[in-house]
């Protein structure tokens, strides 16, 4: 764990560059997609939605990096918050369809008509207002993260135990959302969206704007995260990561520190999820699958744990690779992903960003045996 402690906390200049790069790239792609189709610089609608998807995933990776890279909480359940944000956005988009659904019911989404429900369940109230839906995107995941984190950190659940119960959390959510009676479309989830705030979701201009918004959100997320980890609070986070007990003995409250960053991270993931749903056009319980959460962790590991830019880089690269792989050699993708997990943990413990800055590489391990293997000593 102290592979990271030698690294100066305040060395995040690259983050500003990454934020600018992400936003610039999104703007360029968006503009290019609006060029006439015969233009050599034209970018297809497919590429735009793909880019939007990558950027949304990058937000998820960023949120995972915040808690794993800086607070040492290996979350295997961040897809829970990503998915909840996505569902909250999906509820709004579903209500926007209005009477244009297959059953033409103005107040009930299609799947409820199909289940012959008469009224909207209470948790769907107000979701036709964009502002209320956005509030839900932020508040619901934050509440869940708050309750879960408050209980877990206060009782000092940590290490592998915490990882496993975060996985149980997202697994339980997946099972719940798969049920038809739960009120979120069951197996099929929410889909067939028509427009957002009156703008047709299938128009290139709308998609271009959405891409820019996603790029902007990611850039803002990066900057906010940089502000957090660069602050005094950030120092505290790293202290908790590297030696929770020492931090506690110095008079700090590691549980509160962790809870704060945990809730912030959950909200970041939720925003990513919401942006993801608009651009991909569907949200279903599969997003809660434990495998998705674990994949998000590997994006961070590939990019470089504890480097904010690394998370974004890793998410985009791995997902780009996945797109290529699944198009050309679908049956080899799992080999690729599996070997990526193994190879990264074995040979690239500080990820691609570690290659970038070999001079700042971690000091050799186990200088101080007491902290070198805290989780190894379950005794």
């Amino acid at each position: 764990m102290n592979a990271f402690s030698g690294q100066s906390v305040r060395s995040f200049k690259s983050v500003v560059w990454t934020a600018g790069l992400v936003l610039g790239l999104a703007v360029v792609l968006a503009v290019a997609s609006l060029l006439p189709e015969n233009s050599p610089f034209h970018v297809s609608a497919f590429a735009v939605s793909l880019a939007g998807k990558y950027l949304a995933y990058a937000m998820l990776a960023l949120s995972v990096d915040l808690v794993w890279g800086f607070a040492g909480i290996l979350t295997l359940g961040h897809a829970a918050f990503f998915g909840l944000g996505g569902y909250a956005m999906g509820m709004y988009l579903m209500r926007e369809i209005g009477a244009r659904g297959a059953y033409g019911d103005a107040s009930l989404p299609d799947f409820m008509v199909f289940l012959s429900w008469k009224r909207l369940p209470w948790y769907w109230w107000g979701t036709d207002h964009f502002a209320w839906a956005m509030l839900l995107v932020l508040v619901v995941p934050a509440l869940l993260a708050g309750i879960f984190g408050w209980l877990a950190f206060r009782s000092r659940v940590s290490g592998v135990y915490l990882s496993i119960i975060t996985q149980a959390l997202t697994y339980a959510l997946m099972l719940a959302f798969f049920q038809n009676g739960f009120g979120f479309g069951g197996n099929n989830g929410l889909t067939d969206f028509k427009d957002i705030l009156g703008a047709d979701l299938h128009r290139p201009a709308t998609r271009a704007v959405l891409l820019v918004v996603t790029g902007g959100a990611l850039a803002a997320g990066l900057l906010a995260s940089r502000f957090i980890v660069g602050s005094r609070f950030g120092n505290l986070l790293v202290a908790v990561r590297d030696s929770e007990n020492r931090t506690r003995f110095l008079g700090y409250r590691p549980d509160q520190v962790k809870l704060l960053v945990w809730v912030f991270s959950a909200m970041l993931a939720a925003i990513g999820g919401a942006l993801y749903v608009i651009q991909v056009g569907i949200i279903n319980p599969g997003e809660f699958a434990p495998a998705n959460s674990i994949e998000a962790v590997i994006w961070v590991a590939v990019g470089g744990r504890g480097t904010l830019s690394g998370a974004v880089l890793g998410a985009i690269l791995v997902n780009f690779g996945k797109t290529l792989f699944t198009a050309w050699l679908p049956e080899f993708w799992l080999y690729g992903l599996g070997l990526l997990f193994i190879g990264t943990t074995l040979f690239l413990p500080s990820g691609l960003m570690g290659l970038w800055r070999p001079v700042r590489a971690a000091p050799p391990e186990e200088i101080t045996p007491e902290v070198s293997a805290p989780e190894g000593e379950h005794s």
């Binding site: 799992l334 080999y335 070997l339 379950h378």
Partner: protein, 532 residues
């Protein structure tokens, strides 16, 4: 009595045969060719009552659709190879223009009754029991005289009991008439003793009937609520058995996980894939034995047990030596690496064996079930329960009575101190990981008998196994046992009331909440270190 009755029947037959064979039998058989329902039904009833062996053969042929009618009322039994005259049983050459005798549903009902009647007079108690069973389910009032006749002659107690039940059911199924009240009351009392869903249905009808006498109705109501209570008790017991069975599968799956976690602090995410490989090894062993020594096929599953243990254990040692040991001291990274490994293993199996389910055989001695009261105990689940117990006992022995066990416990308690005492911890790590993987292989053999075997097998068990390990705590097999049974039973007991998926969610949430209160599980290993 029975012999006397048969003798009478025989005498009558001989008598009939002596007097005017052709005419008498022509009457009984003549309706069979149909197509008039009344004639056919009369014919069938007559043949069933006193048709003799020839009548039996003809009725059987009718049921099997081997009965054909020729010109001028001639009947033939033709089963595809041999042709005979239905009336005489003599071999005959079948004419070309034979027409099969057609059956409709009404005739089939009459035929089934006739069948039961013939079987009621069979010399074999088992055949009579089956017939009584069939009549119990049919409660056909036309069978009442036959049932009474059979009851009066029956000597074998279990057949007699079944006949009584059939009689009671038949009596109650009829509309109440004057003067039958006492009989019906007796029948209600009898069915209440019998219990079961069938009896409950009949009694509920009686209880709800408007034309029934009040005493009978009330008795039926009491009987229904009594049967309901019994059924509920049995269904709770049945669920408890399912819970035990699932708990034992979880126990098998989780012990290996708990050992590697205890000794090395590593959660092996590829543990489920080790189970999957164990199941595939079972299949391979079965196939291999079928091709080489078919005589050993029934015990192939027993041979698969050590093979799966060795194969999976070997793979485990290789994984530890080539992967895990480089990640020593970084348990969270190990988690990621083993997850990657699980993806690769899944894909390897998918590429070699295909993505679909493979059919692992269940040997005959593991199929079927035992009925204990209202409890249906399937043999394969029972076997897994026993197997899990044996594995646990074996593991206890290894951990408590062998050098390896001693060393493993020492490393679990304090790795550095154990190393200082001269225990070669890398060797213990490798063997512990191998043991854990081997146990997963054993779990795979067990699971192959009750679940689909596909490349995804591991994933469906892994989360539940994790729950068992974190719930039970590390380094204590009793904790694993208690947690496996608690989770298995808890899920199955909640299932009938809130549904399977909700039960699973409830269990997950309960475990999550429990872990918050007891961060190291139910049976934590206590030490003095701050990190423990």
């Amino acid at each position: 009595m029975r012999k006397l009755g048969l003798a009478c029947l025989l005498a009558a037959l001989c008598l009939g045969g002596g007097l005017g064979e052709a005419s008498a039998q022509a009457d009984d058989f003549s309706g069979l060719a149909g197509p008039q329902f009344e004639e056919m039904s009369a014919s069938i009833t007559a043949l069933a009552a006193h048709g003799g062996p020839q009548g039996d053969a003809a009725l059987q042929a009718l049921e099997d659709r081997h009965l054909f009618s020729g010109a001028d009322g001639a009947l033939f039994i033709h089963d595809g190879a041999v042709c005979q005259n239905a009336r005489t049983g003599e071999a005959a050459s079948c004419p070309e223009d034979l027409k099969p005798v057609r059956l409709n549903n009404r005739i089939r009902t009459v035929l089934a009754g006739a069948h039961a009647l013939r079987e009621l007079s069979s010399a074999e108690p088992d055949v009579r029991l089956k017939a009584a069973q069939a009549l119990y389910a049919r409660h056909d009032m036309t069978m009442l005289p036959a049932l009474e006749q059979a009851m009066s002659t029956e000597k074998v107690p279990r057949v007699h009991e079944k006949l009584m039940q059939a009689h009671a059911a038949t009596v109650l199924a009829q509309a109440p008439a004057e003067g039958t009240q006492a009989t019906r009351l007796k029948a209600v009392g009898y069915l209440a003793e019998v219990g079961g869903l069938e009896a409950r249905g009949l009694l509920a009808n009686v209880a709800a009937s408007a034309v029934e006498a009040p005493e009978v109705r009330h008795a039926a109501q009491r009987a229904v609520s009594r049967i309901d209570w019994h059924l509920r008790v049995w269904s709770v017991l049945q669920n408890a058995f399912y819970g035990l069975s699932y708990g034992s599968v979880l126990l098998l799956a989780a012990t290996g996980l708990a050992i590697t976690f205890g000794v090395m602090g590593v959660i092996n995410m590829a543990h489920g894939e080790m189970m999957m490989i164990g199941a595939y090894v079972t299949w391979l062993v079965q196939q291999g034995i079928r091709m080489t020594v078919p005589a050993l096929e029934p015990i192939a599953i027993l041979i698969a047990i050590p093979v799966a243990f060795v194969v999976c254990g070997g793979i485990g040692v290789v994984i530890e030596r080539s992967l895990i040991r480089f990640l020593y001291g970084r348990p969270l990274e190990t988690l990621l690496a083993t997850w990657g490994l699980s993806l690769v293993l899944q894909q390897v199996i998918r590429s070699v064996f295909g993505p679909t389910n493979i059919a692992v055989q269940t040997p005959a001695w593991l199929s079927g079930s035992l009925m204990v009261g209202g409890l249906d105990i399937t043999l394969n689940r029972l076997a897994i329960l026993v197997f899990a117990g044996l594995v646990l006992a074996g593991l206890m022995f290894v951990l408590r009575r062998t050098t390896l066990g001693l060393q493993m416990r020492a490393v679990t308690q304090n790795r550095r101190m154990a190393a200082l005492m001269g225990i070669r911890t890398p060797k213990v790590d490798a063997l512990a990981f191998g043991l854990g993987a081997g146990l997963a292989g054993l779990a795979g053999v067990a699971v192959s008998q009750i679940d689909n075997v596909s490349p995804n097998l591991g994933q469906s068990y892994i989360i539940d196994s994790f729950m068992v390990v974190v719930f039970g705590g590390v380094g204590n097999l009793w904790g694993t046992l208690a947690a496996a049974m608690a989770l298995g039973m808890g899920g199955k007991v909640l299932e009938p009331t809130i549904g399977a998926v909700s039960a699973k969610i409830a269990i997950l949430v309960l475990v999550i909440v429990y872990i918050q209160r007891h961060p190291r599980g139910m049976f934590p290993v206590r030490g003095r270190g701050i990190e423990s």
